[in-house]
Symmetry: D2
Subunit: 294 residues, 4 copies
């Protein structure tokens, strides 16, 4: 049962620290520092106050804090030695299902990063797919130390914003979720296409695709709920596959045994986890188009 | 060196039979029957005359002739016991690279077909991919014997039309080749998109995709030669993949690290091996469309 | 102030007849006949009961009733001798602003129609434009008498349904209104196009266009309210003109002095007055598309 | 009968001056100056040599030369006092068919221009429509004298390039012509749309449209010859109107009495008179798109 902001504002200092002590990884002192700033008018204010504690800390304390974070797909993860939050977050991005090659790549990058910066690589994995984590990792290895430290703190802001969002109910919650939706128009008949099966896949450059969802369009050519909603959209490459050949066959459109269009793939990237991506399909048996809509 | 129609019209009866004896599988009597109909005005007339010999033959002779054809992906193929033409034709469709499961499926279908119809399954494999051969096989097993015999003879007409086309030069050659072409328009700049890498794949329902070609668009947004040309288009499902993200990056269009469009796949079916399929891409960084063009 | 269905159900028979006596043109007997069927559960039931009275009347009574309707754009209209409802309805379709030529055409058609069928030409003008009325007129002149009488009664059903809808509040009101909406997507930027001026015109085959509305898109690329709403869409031909050149100029897209796209017209027909027509524009400086959406 | 470059190279100096004396308006000294530079390898070289004579002339001579040009739509034009070339060129742009208001506007601009710059306004009218001439006129009035003199000489280069092109046959002719083409694809049937009537109009901001051409698509959905070809495309705004409703009706597609799409207008600007504008239409009964193609 989630905490409420009102309850957090009213409870004792010790209870407050207990309640929020695990939001910042192995750093109950962050909650401790924020306890005295109560009451908070909004959930966003609470989170801001906690970040202020981190930013006001000495460089040494910050370094210790950053060092308290686990390696991604590292030994601690394989040994089950992560916090509950970290375990769930790494699994959600598929980091618990890496091939041996991928583990080896992460190990190599973790080692290089720690040697270069003296801290573990920190990224808000709930906003990422495996592929985008690896790209980030490689890019950030080329940063200088100051830029990289700022990036790590910014990622901690994103990680803990999601944790606060999940843990605390109340007004003034920040928008942490994105939305992926679609819409199928049959421009052969001039109507929404009903009953079209849609599969959604996460694509990997160097590995197999992962099916994320299968759904069917309703009478308005839309899906009853977003393809992805109620969570950040993970940065990555996706493919929607529309079974449009079966739709036109049901509508009685004559087609060859191998129709020109059968399963139509739309491949697109998501770069903004908190954004709304509307990716519609307009199709006839002989043509189709798509666009980023609104 | 190909024969010419003029030479065939002028040569002795025996030479004519030797020259064309292998066009119809193990049936030099077909060439023998056509020899007396010379001279032929066109290559198509020559082929027509040979088909007339087959059609005029007795039912028993036809049956013997049909039985002279090899099983697809059968024991003879694995043992290297096919005619040169059959070997090349079966390999071209990928029948020499089947998995054990696929061999087993062909074996099963060959057995069922022969038991049901008393003849081997005959199809013009040069007009097909593995997938479309299997679909044909399954559908034709449900035919009645008369319809299936007519189908087998029609396929022999297609097989031998291609063999005659390859063997004989002269006027009046039938159109046996199809063409697959594309065209990339950058509707962000209002110009043909030059330098776009395009990969063409043959797709399989139940197996890995096969890359058929990689090319790059020229200054007119087209490819210097057709993606497929000078042969029948094999019935099947294909995917063109356009590296459009790299194009817009080269043009200096600002994009996220994970652009909305990077590699755009267009998946389509080819049903008409002798047709022209023009499958263009019109793209901006945020939208694209395709259609069967001309 | 509109009547309510509850009040109509509760009032005296005489008051009911007074209240609804003018819904059917010069025929208070229709309200009289429906008075005894009260109470009505829905507004649609009330209208249905009144139509039943007309349908149950003798052929002679029906003929008299039909003859009680005025000519379209006829002498009565020019002399101001129509009922208030008829005057407003004919003006709404622009029948009070005809050229002399158009008046002459209507006069000619009215004469031919009355001679042929013995009744005036009746059409629900609130669902029509001048052009579609003329097309109906010409087509219906070719009907036989029985078909045409049925058509006239069907049109009276549509006329009075709208009158009842305007006069009576209550539950169960039929859907008598259509909606025309639009949406502008800038597929050059991948965003809704804000601030785009849109003009809506009614087109005539043989006369000048009439501007119906001018509006501007909001931040979502839509208009704050439908282009047409709260009334039937008049059957006819329309043109939306989008000032898209000015939009791209404001966005800083380089363009020639005479840009390729400046004002984009979309011309379309409306055939279903109670339907929803969504006619979006997807545009770059070099391309655009539209479709009947939902 | 056009002159040939070879003949011009071979003829006497006097004949050369007679032959080309009228290319530069009232300035036979230009041909005279170029006569000694013979022989010319290409027609472009001949034209270049004549321009060099103008550019090498003294400022006073140039001014006299520029003053030798007639006003656009001026008194000389109305009195029939122009050279044959100028008369034809001004008529081609419709300057002989101006309304009194438009004449008055030209008169006003001519006066303002001459007062400001001491020379008449010179523009290559064969590359313009009335509308674009007026826009140029208004814009160039804001130039400074040096920029405007350079512009006038550049326009004379364009005028005389076209005159030389029309007068002289030979190798190395510059590209002076543009091309407007179209293409209609029926994406409902997946085929080129044959037999579609197309009308081409020149649009004016403040005046009636002018029909330039009516044509019909051939079996490939194209027109047998370009909509405009063999001449410069005049800078201006155009509208193509495709009678697509009649096409779908002929194909048996069910449609309402007022179809959603009947006559589809595509409005576009031409800014580059020597360019190729390909403006195709892709249409179903419920959607269409266009783009600047190649």
């Amino acid at each position: 049962m989630p905490l409420t902001l009102d309850a957090l504002n009213a409870m004792s200092r010790d209870d407050f620290i207990t309640a929020l002590g695990s939001i910042f990884e192995h750093a109950p002192w962050v909650a401790e520092g924020a306890a005295g700033k109560r009451p908070f008018a909004t959930v966003a204010d609470l989170h801001r106050a906690m970040l202020d504690v981190v930013e006001a800390a000495s460089a040494d304390t910050q370094t210790m804090f950053l060092r308290g974070h686990p390696d991604l797909a590292g030994k601690a993860a394989r040994d089950g030695a992560l916090t509950a939050d970290s375990t769930a977050e790494q699994a959600g991005a598929g980091l618990d299902r890496l091939s041996e090659t991928q583990y080896a790549r992460f190990h190599q990058l973790n080692t290089a990063y720690t040697q270069r910066f003296g801290i573990p690589f920190i990224v808000c994995v709930r906003r990422h797919t495996r592929g985008s984590i690896l790209r980030q990792f490689e890019r950030r290895l080329t940063n200088d130390a100051a830029a990289e430290r700022a990036t790590a703190l910014r990622e901690i802001g994103l990680i803990t914003r999601l944790r606060v969002d999940g843990a605390v109910e109340g007004s003034g919650k920040p928008n942490v979720n994105g939305r992926l939706s679609t819409h199928v128009l049959d421009t052969h008949m001039g109507r929404p296409a009903e009953g079209v099966r849609i599969d959604l896949f996460e694509m990997q450059d160097d590995g197999p695709e992962t099916k994320l969802a299968t759904t069917t369009t309703n009478a308005d050519g839309r899906t009853d709920k977003p393809l992805i909603g109620g969570q950040p959209l993970r940065i990555g490459v996706y493919e929607l596959r529309f079974h449009i050949g079966a739709h036109f066959a049901r509508r009685g459109v004559p087609a060859a045994d191998t129709p020109f269009l059968d399963i139509v793939p739309l491949r697109f990237g998501i770069a903004d986890p908190e954004g709304h991506y509307h990716v519609p399909l307009l199709a006839t048996p002989w043509s189709y188009s798509t666009y980023r809509g609104s």
